[in-house]
Amino acid sequence: MPPPAPIAASRHKHVEWQPDGPDSQWCAMDFEKVLVLFRALGDQSVDYILVGAIGMTVHGIVRATQDVDLFVRPQENNIARLRAALRSLFPEDASIGDITAADLAGEYPAIRYNSPDGSLQIDLLARLGQAFAYEDLRFEEKLYEGVPVRVATAQTLYEMKKNTVRLRDRADAETLKEEFGLEE
């Protein structure tokens, strides 16, 4: 059975995205823009926890990725601060207003934000199934290229990745376990 169609809350045409676009429509995540994002999240005092591959790089395990994975506290005032942070990066993007606490706390705990210029793809998560919610994650504040970030602990990253289906995540889990001497 095909997966249910996602809800496209909005598609504001800052770029003319085409389903089978020309060769010029290739891009890569802008690492410097990632740092700007973390600065903005800090400036707006957003309650977030960085997870995923970028979280691993903060702990020193460097691998490439195409997106930033953030758990966020799904409360209205926090999501308002999150929207403000994103607007500071992409002030022209009206779609940011479609990121709501009601969705994250309710039926849509996973929201993908793709920036208009293709420089950032951000997964905003409020919970992962029944296993993880924002409140369940342990985190620490670390400096990442001089920018403070709230990142899940290595043990938490390991626990999130160890039982997943994707081979890449399981390989990440093995690396974390090996490098940090983690327990099952």
Binding site: H59, D98, A110, N114, L125
Partner: protein, 76 residues
């Protein structure tokens, strides 16, 4: 980044973790992202906000518009 010498490739492969805050770490980060941009760029994602009932649903949706790799450099 200073030159590092190893007795074998397997010995080099064991180096997986860098110490954050060091010059070596900064260099590795930018090198990895820079190389990924050259060798494995992704298609421009459909811009905007997209909502999913689970992360698995989001990953399935990604497959619907992503291509795994860019056409080879030679073919362009």
């Amino acid at each position: 980044m200073p030159i590092r010498k190893f007795r074998s490739l397997s010995e080099a492969d064991k180096i997986k973790r860098f110490r954050p805050g060091t010059e070596e770490f900064s260099h590795a980060l930018r090198s990895v992202f820079g190389m990924a941009a050259i060798l494995a760029p992704h298609r421009l994602a459909p811009p905007g906000v997209f909502k999913f009932r689970s992360i698995e649903e989001a990953q399935d949706w990604n497959k619907s518009w992503k291509r795994p790799t860019r056409p080879s450099i030679e073919s362009r």
